[in-house]
Amino acid sequence: MPGILKYLCGIDSPRVLVFGITGRQGRSRSRLMKGFGTEIVAGCTPGKGGQEVDGVPVYNTAAEAVSAHRSINSAVFFVPAGAIAKAAFDAMDAGISFLVLTADGVATQDSIKIKEKAHETGAMCLGPNTVGMLDTDGYLFGLIGGKASWAKKNYLPGKVGVISRSGGLSQLLAAFHCRHNLPGPRSDGSFGPLWGEDYPGLSAVLCVGGDPVPGITLLDAARAFEADPRTEVMAIYAETGTTQENDLARAISNGEIKKPVVVFLGGKFTEAGVAQSHAGAMIRNKSETYQAKKEALEKAGAIVVDRPDSVFAAIAEFLK
């Protein structure tokens, strides 16, 4: 069965170009991605074309890499924030249609330019400031998962689609749905195992990142899970700032998103106008507050909880 990228950007089998593969992080993360099953075709580091990293050929530009390997359809970037826009443009100009931008600290103007360029070329960018994505079909992009052996043990195929604006919570919401006998607060007020040996499992997890101008939004991701036949219910970490939750609420209201949605909404105590470590969580107007988003989502029919471990009981209810 195809993974979530089929429904996000029409990619059946991702074949990946790794930007920054010759660097410390690029090299080690590429190993972990491969260990999980991701098909890494080539690497790209300007000035290091002709080298190899763990048997993967390195090219100076995306165009050179795509010209030598026509199957490349996606890219992941382990390059510094200041270099990300140029590298992303290089990939999009070469026709690559799915990009994962892990860098934190990307200038907002660069994020906007990347989004404009993606709109022009039809590409989809996950991030910036994302931990990446993982599909239990057998591929992952970015930093998610840790060691491949750990990822294989903790992210198991199933029915829950996870979307998150936080890297850590992406992994938590995804992995905890794959644990036998997960303890947690139940809807009747008691505490104990929320399910038995038959955990709900995961279809895929997409971290849209914590920046104010994300490429792929919560709604883009929800649309993909809506179309993905493996996914029966969505678990989402949302927070203050940006219009993403408001846009998602509208899509639930108008019937575009029909599958059940459980949202752990952060930011109950976030003050307006105060900078957050997720730059995108800063509240710029009334519609971006916790209260406004909670009301919009609940009115639309989503279940909104205000502690992470309440997500699992709510998901279990839907899967009964």
Partner: protein, 487 residues
């Protein structure tokens, strides 16, 4: 956002050909005073409505200039005084460039705000502002801007002025650029009389850093510990290291908690747990995530533990960090060993090697000078906080740490560290255990010495030192400098 004062913003505009009122910047009273008539304008980052606050003065005589300079230079946070020529203004416009973040229907981009009624009091006339959205990738031509402007004299020249302003905004990746007023002079030309800009620190390129240099008394109110974290990030840029100290004192009767949280989500979890409680006070916000090295984890921990009011440290990720948790635990242990005033800790490990992390902390716990309690990721912060008061301390323990002398084996530039070999702890001269435990093969044993493998890279994980101290005989230690004084 950090703000640039007028005299620095002028340089940016000038570099893109925006015409400006002639002006000279003085940070001391000059030997030769400017010729009257001038407007003396205090240069205070972020200051608005300066005229109403007496920070802009018209000076018509040498005496007024001298006194005005003296008084304005003494203003709080004043970086200097701009002495601008008085010009004959026939008409005033207002213009600003901002970022537009977009939504489901509209792409993000820039917005040009324009009003044909500029000058003081623009805040009350926001309803009259014309909004022109523009692309940052393909900024508009003067002709395109002119077609959006109202019917005003010499509209093409004004549009060219605005085009240059947009180019300045994009060229320096600003978040705000404002000129108010744009003056129409008696010959019909346009000049910027006053201007200001806001920017993101991470949007400033190295090439332009000198133009954005924010002085210690600027709007940027970073504390010494925050400045240290900035320096740590500069030396070891991989991964996120965010730290912001609270500007408030811990209220009486609260537990003052130093926090080392992982990810923006981890920070949000903590905030959701403690936001409604008046018995817990968070001394700082933090986010250490994105695959930072163990070296960087250690350095930031030392900064976090240096907050003198802290009674306890809470370290928690969002539950399933991709940072190897054994590396993180090694950093915690090192910080507790080497801090002059270690803090009792509540530690939650979740992610790769979480069991090894907990085992390490349990192994070393009894030799630590402070209490340490570890939690698995299934225990959320809302349960962890119930243990705060049982281990929080009113009296910080003091200890002395002096790095053990040894032979400098080699230094690593990024992440920065000195590897020190202690041959007296390895009298047989056999290969120490730490060599084969290095996860990247960076450490080699060569001719009875520890050497770096040029084909491999150090990831700053601290595994070698931890293994050396726990399973070996302490043959290898790592010295990690800090960019300032910590407790």
């Amino acid at each position: 956002m950090p703000a640039l004062p007028e005299y620095r913003t002028r340089v940016l505009l000038e570099n893109h050909g925006v015409p400006l009122v002639p002006a000279v910047f003085h940070d001391v009273i000059p030997d030769v005073l400017p010729e009257p008539v001038v407007f003396l304008k205090a240069q205070i980052p972020g200051a608005t409505s300066r005229a109403g606050r007496g920070l802009v003065r018209r000076a018509s005589t040498p005496n007024e200039i001298s006194n005005g300079l003296k008084e304005l230079l003494a203003e709080e946070n004043c970086q200097g005084v701009l002495a601008a020529e008085a010009v004959d203004i026939k008409k005033e416009y207002y213009a600003a460039c901002l970022l537009y973040f977009g939504d489901e229907e509209n792409l993000p981009g820039g917005v040009l705000l324009f009003s044909p009624e500029g000058g003081t009091g623009i805040e009350e006339r926001t309803g009259s502002l014309l909004k022109i959205h523009f692309s940052l990738l393909n900024p508009p031509s003067a002709l395109a801007i002119a077609s959006e402007l109202p019917d005003i004299p010499r509209v093409n020249e004004l549009a060219d002025f605005l085009r240059r302003m947009i180019n300045t905004f994009i060229g320096y990746k600003l978040t705000v650029l404002e000129t108010n007023p744009i003056a129409v002079l008696s010959d019909g030309s346009h000049v910027a009389v006053d201007c200001r800009a806001e920017f993101e620190k991470h949007g400033v390129s190295r090439k332009n850093a000198h133009l954005f240099k924010v002085s210690a008394n600027a709007l940027d109110d970073s504390t010494p510990l925050e400045i240290m974290v900035d320096a740590i990030n500069t030396a070891d840029p991989a991964g996120t290291g965010f730290f912001r100290a609270s500007r408030q004192k811990a209220p009486e009767g609260t537990v003052a908690v130093a926090t080392n949280l992982c990810g923006g989500g981890g920070k949000m979890l903590w905030e959701m747990t403690t936001g409604g409680r008046d018995d817990i006070f968070s001394l700082n916000e933090s986010d250490t995530s994105g695959g930072l090295s163990g070296f960087k984890s250690y350095r930031i921990l030392r900064v976090i533990m240096s907050q003198p009011e802290a009674q306890v440290l809470i370290l928690t990720g969002s539950g399933m960090a991709f940072q190897n948790q054994f590396h993180l635990a090694s950093a915690v242990w090192k910080a507790l060993r080497e801090s002059a005033t270690p803090l009792p800790c509540l530690l939650r490990f979740g992610g790769t090697d979480q069991e090894k992390a907990m085992e390490l902390m349990n192994t070393v716990a009894e030799n630590l000078p402070v209490k340490v309690k570890t939690f698995s990721p299934e225990i959320f912060p809302n349960a962890m906080v119930e243990h705060l008061s049982e281990i929080a301390t009113d009296q910080r323990i003091k200890q002395e740490f002096t790095p053990e002398a040894g032979e400098l084996a080699f230094e690593v530039e990024t992440p920065p560290a000195r590897f020190v070999y202690h041959p007296e702890k390895n009298p047989d001269g056999n290969e120490p255990l730490c060599i084969k435990e290095c996860p990247t093969g960076f450490l080699q044993w060569s001719n009875g010495r520890i050497t770096p493998n040029p084909e491999a890279k150090c990831i700053g994980c601290l595994v070698c030192e931890t293994v050396s101290l726990i399973q070996g005989n302490g043959e290898l230690t790592i010295e990690l400098d800090l960019p300032g004084e910590v407790l």
